[in-house]
């Protein structure tokens, strides 16, 4: 017989509880940020097109996302008769899951100190951090593909195939641009990368400007954002892979895109812009809690800038044609990333690092 109490006592409950609370906080923050990204997107669009934007729900329209969410929840839920029902429901769930899983390895700030216990503001500091993000991102394709196929609609299937091949193509250039970065950092752990940048006082973007640009373009493509939003090109494919979806299932797909945007902004800020590092400030002179909070604010500001960049591009640049997209990915970005990698490797060898 297994002694149940011995099994339960063997767990480090304090640690589990700490991580559980952290996970709940981070996931809910991601969701709230994604919610307000929709509001921000409409405001930015309005500002760029010289309109007012949403301003009816609450002061400055600040309750608009809640109204939108409520609308989506209460809409009629339609599952097409000819669809594959299990997979039809699974699709949006997978999209959401893959989007939320990425936030596990991002270091949100340094650590908080409560008496004797130190709380790392990161769910898991694994030493394969970047590869983990890469793995989860490559799973994001399944949400789109399964949803598109299960709808049993030609347009949805076409859009899903487009989305999947786009994601796979741009993952390559993204990975190679990251390899060049790894030559410099020498570690795959996100926290180590941030701490290196804090110690040197120089952000990685200074060493890897080209690598950053390639990463940025690929991040746009991976998030299916304009100018790469071909999977939902409404002029050719009606509405893309989520054409048959309604109610909150559609909401999940749209939401996953905004969460992806938030997380990829966080990844870019971490890898290339020093993460929670505040420029011209020596954090080690401050009390740990103060440093953590200042770092968190700095990190959020950096993320906010990148989110704004995503929207800025969306409302400025028109959509690519599909062959242009593939040409850019395979014939321009990939060789560019390879050259960047080789040059970085040669320089690192030359400097004997």
């Amino acid at each position: 017989m297994i002694n149940l109490s011995a099994v339960l006592l063997a767990f480090d409950w304090g640690f589990l509880l700490q991580k559980l609370i952290l996970i709940i906080i981070i996931v809910s923050v991601s969701l709230v940020v994604a919610m307000y990204e929709t509001y921000l997107e409409r405001k930015v669009a309005a500002w760029m097109q010289d309109r007012i934007g949403p301003n009816r729900a609450g002061p400055f329209g600040i309750l608009q996302p809640i109204a939108d969410g409520g609308k989506l929840f209460f809409k009629e839920e339609i599952i097409p008769n000819t669809s594959n029902k299990t997979l039809f429901v699974l699709g949006p769930g997978l999209a959401m899951l893959a989007a939320l899983m990425t936030c596990a390895v991002i270091p949100w700030s340094s650590h908080l100190q409560f008496g004797d216990t130190t709380v790392q503001l990161q769910i898991a500091d694994v030493n394969i951090g970047i590869l983990y993000i890469f793995g989860v991102v490559s799973l994001g394709v399944y949400g789109i593909m399964i949803g598109g196929w299960a709808s049993n609609n030609k347009f949805s299937l076409m859009a899903a195939l487009r989305g999947a091949s786009q994601a796979i193509s741009y993952e390559l250039a993204m990975g190679i641009s990251l390899i060049a970065l790894l030559f410099i950092t020498g570690s795959l752990s996100m926290r180590t990368i941030v701490e290196e940048q804090m110690k040197n006082g120089i952000w990685n973007v200074v060493y890897q400007p080209l690598g950053f640009l390639i990463f940025l373009v690929c991040a746009f493509a991976e998030c299916n954002r304009t100018p790469f939003d071909l999977p939902e090109a409404e002029s050719e494919l009606n509405m893309g892979y989520h054409q048959e979806y309604s109610s909150m299932k559609l909401g999940f797909y749209l939401f996953a895109e905004y969460i992806n945007m938030f997380i990829s902004s966080a990844v870019m800020a971490t890898l290339f812009f020093g993460g929670y590092d505040v420029p011209f400030l020596d954090e080690s002179t401050l009390a740990p809690n103060v440093a953590a909070i200042i770092g968190l604010i700095a990190f959020m500001i950096k993320i906010g800038f990148f989110i704004f960049l995503f929207m800025w591009v969306r409302w400025t640049i028109p959509r690519f044609r599909y062959d242009q997209l593939m040409n850019l990915g395979w014939k321009k970005l990939l060789p560019l990333a390879l050259v960047n990698m080789l040059v970085t490797a040669a320089v690192m060898l030359w400097l004997h690092k």
Partner: protein, 167 residues
Amino acid sequence: MSITEILFWFLSVLTLVSAIMVLISKNPVHSVLWLIATFFAISGHYILLNAQFLAIVNLIVYAGAIMVLFLFVIMLMNLDVAIEPKRSMWMKFAGVISGGLLLAVLLSVVRTSVDLTNKTAQLNTGDIGLIKNLGHTLFTQYAVPFEVSSILFLSAMVGAVVIGKKN
């Protein structure tokens, strides 16, 4: 029963159930999805053995890239239950027997292998699976085989381009 053991049993059951579901699902798309679940469970086993690099590469390469291509092909082929050709009883018998023989051979090899008898897996202790040690071993001790296999990949890539260029 420690947390590692609980995880081990959970992952083993998950692996076996999803592997069986790959075989018995009627719908090929479901089979592919169950296969992805199997890869996840196997990656979990790798993590239990502290082979983090192997675990994540297994996910990126197999679950993230190869299975997407599988799904591509299956989705475009439009496989229906109605148009599936009927296989004769003899074929099924032959399949079961040859599969069973293969299983028996594999089992006996694993059971009698000198390297494996009387040894247990290193849970959570070995560090050869960490990326630093793995890279070091690959690029010093096994540099030549590593380069040879990369040439193999290169030639496969060239071959794929040549085949794709034909029309």
